[in-house]
């Protein structure tokens, strides 16, 4: 049996196992201590009539932190239902796929911005961020205060165009417009140390991220991401519409000042290299 075949069979076994672990429909009837937050009333609006996206948003459907909690409805942990809005894996250029396949799990870990205490970048801050985001929204600006690493970002809503030669920023250079009740934010010009997305830890200078924000009700913020980078992807990747829910708890400080993972992982990588 070839290694490739063994890998394929192993993957099939893993996916079958994960499917078997998923709760059957009947299991949703169980009484959980923490459930899906109801949508609430109508979304608030700004003085200019657009939806007000302000709020303390949690990356789940419960409106509260769920890490370390017992008795949580699996639906409350989710930001979308993959049966309703599936997400395809990114379609990678052959060189990009080969690059990822050539890396060990430890090397992938060492390449993550999060492990290096670096900002995650615009796509990953919405796609893989277990902490909260506080949004302060006015007709002129949308300020995003990320709990993780005490990062922040200002999106100007004055219709300014994208710069022709953008300075590379961790959170990019943004241009925003309204399409009905959807705020569309396009960004280019990213620092090369940011990831394109959680699964793809690199990008080219042609990376362009489009965020679509809607607030269909008081308690829900929907963020949908499209990533285009023709040097790395064979076609744009689009996320499911992911739900963030309104929390009423504290926003906490998080300065990454005691990072021990790099040393531990570098030691592990050295051991792996020596074993080869």
């Amino acid at each position: 049996m070839t290694p490739r075949l063994r890998h394929g069979i192993a993957c099939t076994v893993v996916l079958t196992f994960l499917y078997a672990l998923s709760p059957p429909a009947g299991a949703q009837d169980k009484e959980y201590a923490i459930k899906v937050m109801p949508p609430g009333g109508p979304a608030p609006r700004l003085a200019d009539g657009h939806p007000d996206l302000s709020g303390h948003w949690l990356p789940n459907s419960a409106g509260q932190g769920l890490g370390g909690r017992f008795g949580v409805d699996p639906a409350a942990r989710a930001q979308f239902d993959p049966k309703v809005t599936p997400e395809e894996p990114p379609a990678l250029q052959p060189w990009a796929l080969a690059k990822i396949k050539s890396m060990t799990a430890t090397e992938i870990e060492l390449a993550k911005p999060s492990v290096n205490c670096l900002p995650r970048g615009v796509a990953s801050i919405w796609l893989q961020n277990p902490y909260s985001t506080l949004i302060v929204h006015t007709p002129r600006t949308m300020v995003q205060l990320y709990e993780v690493l005490n990062n922040w970002r200002v999106v100007h809503l004055d219709g300014r165009p994208l710069p022709r030669n953008p300075e590379p920023f961790f959170y990019g250079n943004s241009s925003a417009r309204w399409e009905g009740d959807t705020l569309v934010v396009e960004s280019t010009g990213y620092d090369e140390r940011t990831s394109m997305m959680p699964e793809v830890l690199f990008h080219s200078d042609e990376l362009r991220v489009t965020e679509r924000y809607t607030r269909p009700s008081m308690n829900y913020l929907i963020v949908e991401i499209t990533i285009n980078d023709p040097k790395v992807l064979t076609k744009p990747w689009r996320s499911a519409p992911r739900r963030w829910t309104l929390g009423d708890g504290e926003v906490y400080e998080f300065f990454c000042t005691n990072n021990r993972e790099l040393e531990e992982l570098q030691k592990l990588r050295q051991q792996e290299v020596e074993r080869k």
Binding site: R4, H7, P89, I100, E109, Y252, F254, E261, L265
Partner: protein
């Protein structure tokens, strides 16, 4: 497409999908710790290092011969601990007391170091303070 090629394509898709599974906010548990090498520990809580991205607590634990060894245990991020009700004061109130923890050892073989999963302090409440290993 031949069956081996089909499986190969599935494996690549699988690899990308599995990378997307969320875990620790700061890093992947599986990259640093061995989920197949977990143990239960009982000992005296001696110290707390309450800093980001992870807290560490220290325990004096007797080995098989009765010799006391100092172990350190990594937890979730402080934010996650606070939101789940296990804040700094909870640990401080248990310094010098006997506690129980289930944890998994580091893959790099670092001595007396593990990721904490579940923890019981003097109140007997089972707390999840790190990724569950089973």
């Amino acid at each position: 497409m031949t069956i081996p090629r089909l499986f190969g394509a599935a494996a690549v898709t699988c690899a990308v999908l599995l990378l997307a599974v969320p875990s620790f906010g700061h890093h992947s548990f599986a990259a640093e710790f061995d989920a197949s090498n977990c143990r239960e520990f009982t000992g005296i809580l001696t110290k707390l290092d309450w800093q980001s991205p992870h807290a560490y607590f220290y325990m004096d634990i007797k080995d098989g011969s009765g010799r006391v060894e100092s172990w350190s245990f990594q937890t979730y991020a402080l934010i996650t601990l606070r939101r789940s009700g296990t804040d700094r004061q909870v640990f401080l109130d248990n310094i010098g007391k006997e506690v129980w923890v289930r944890g998994c050892l580091a893959k790099n073989g670092r001595q007396h170091y593990a990721a904490a999963g579940t923890l019981k302090l003097s109140d007997g409440v089972l707390r999840q303070v790190g990724q569950l290993q089973d």
